[in-house]
Symmetry: C2
Subunit: 359 residues, 2 copies
Amino acid sequence: MKEKIVIYDGYKIFTPGPVKMSDEVLSLGAKQTPYFRNEKFSHVLLSCEKMLLKMLNAPKGSRVIFLTASGTAGLEAVVMNLLSKEDEAIVVNGGGFGQRFVDICKSYEVNHLDFKVENTNLADINEREFEDGFNTFIVNAHETSLGHLYDLEAIGSFCKKHKLLNIVDAISMFVTDELDMQKQNIDAVILSSQKGLALPPGLSMIVLNERAINRIGDVKSHYFNFKDYLKDGKRGQTPYTPCVSIILQLEERLKQIQKDGGVKSTIKKAKELAEYFRENIKDLPFEFFTPFMPNAMTTLSPTNGKIALQIVKELEVNEKIIVCPNGGEVGEKIFRVSHMGDMSLEYVDSLIEALRRYK
Amino acid sequence: MKEKIVIYDGYKIFTPGPVKMSDEVLSLGAKQTPYFRNEKFSHVLLSCEKMLLKMLNAPKGSRVIFLTASGTAGLEAVVMNLLSKEDEAIVVNGGGFGQRFVDICKSYEVNHLDFKVENTNLADINEREFEDGFNTFIVNAHETSLGHLYDLEAIGSFCKKHKLLNIVDAISMFVTDELDMQKQNIDAVILSSQKGLALPPGLSMIVLNERAINRIGDVKSHYFNFKDYLKDGKRGQTPYTPCVSIILQLEERLKQIQKDGGVKSTIKKAKELAEYFRENIKDLPFEFFTPFMPNAMTTLSPTNGKIALQIVKELEVNEKIIVCPNGGEVGEKIFRVSHMGDMSLEYVDSLIEALRRYK
């Protein structure tokens, strides 16, 4: 096979999507895409659904919708299908992705409280006062724009108490931080391929329990019509051509996770990597942006007056290391380091070494 | 790299998507997905846009929208963004994909004529009578469900005469049959990755000339908001995470097409393959389903009483060859053979040989 060079070939990547993929997953990327309107592919899709439901500890009757689209489509499709003008949602807004959920609710005229939060993981949500009338709670479990993880157990118990439908965007914390639909009382979960699952971008998955399935209404959209996906999904198919290659890679990845001891092991590994990184940069002029850090990511703020964007640039040019800058004003103050994907301690060492030069 | 086996590994594929990909494109599928919110990726996207516009002979001021989604999302997004309740569209309905356009227009309450056609390529459209009031024409240039190609020149001159916005789904004829926005007077084109472009499924492209851009209205949808895509696209970016890997493969594929003599050469090659196939099965018990065949595909109907679905199955099981079955009643009568993708005459020979057994 003729070898081709892509942009950033050989660079080390610490961005929260895309993330470093395993050799096995990459090897599947070099395979011809098979025809998919048949039993063999149905078997693949059904097997992915089964493994995902198990990893999420989803209750009986739960289903997975496979959308060929990126994460925002997942957020939008969930709002579109599960909520209407009759619903009232509390939307946690602690950053760019919380704001996106608020904007989507606005567009679809879903009544909502723009619940602005800062410096809290909502562990105290049960002590907070809200007006009556809400029937839905929406949260980005890991607010990836800032690297901030909310307390899903507290939120789950709050939702249970107030009978709220609990919608969780788990896009950048699945398989690196704990996610358990039963234990955390979650009704709808949104996942995406290019984060902890360490696959190419282009696939989003919506996991719904029976309660969430019963909330599905009629929508104008064809491409995002959950009823059609659930119907065709029963036989392992999708209404429209799916991203077949990524789904084959998903199956491989999920099997690998199972083989390696399940989601508990991948979470443990991410936790080790994150702690190793955090421990080893303690003496460097950076501080953690938030105390509520997920295993998936560390957000750093330079303490020596250095501009964060400048560090991001220097790491790329001088060290061939890609970390993730922030947009807007905050881009001067923070940058993000992901611990998702197929990383080893040695891989992390390369970044630690590079950051040591800022001491 | 550890080698993985996928379903249908080593099978020959003659389906109209996915199609056989080149070694160069496959080799890129095995690369780590690079971070994309930077100039290097912007350069890739802008370069893809430029090459696509040239290949389509798009007029000055035309733009490309890159949607991470499959073809139906492209159809739906175009209706959603370019048409409203004030518009009146003639929708050519000669098969499953024409019906899909009709259904989408219905959902979005776009006034439309469900223009049912059969056994015609609409070369005579200028002699047909329509009521007044239409401002839009919608057609699937290649009705892929049946392998039927419409006459884009006749349609273009009809649209010019009646001042209709001409929307063409060119998903399964681009780079295998002639498509020229200026010569054929086309305003909006919908393309998809897994057909003639011979890439993995998951990317759709919408090409708009200035007239079509001026028709873009406000939409509820975030994920399909063309205004946002056009704005971010100016600097080579997309509003939401794109399918980075497929876009890198697209760049490679477009460069290869340019290097090999441009779209004219790929069309010539597809025509040769199609004619070679058709010539060499002349004496076999199959007839062509339609006289209006694209270079992209041949639809065959067994004449010896054999069930089409049975042939599809036998080719798969006995010959490791995948051709495309049809759904519904017509599935007993026809099957489809694609000539899209990275095929040689020898590759086509394998299918001809296999079909010879039905003599």
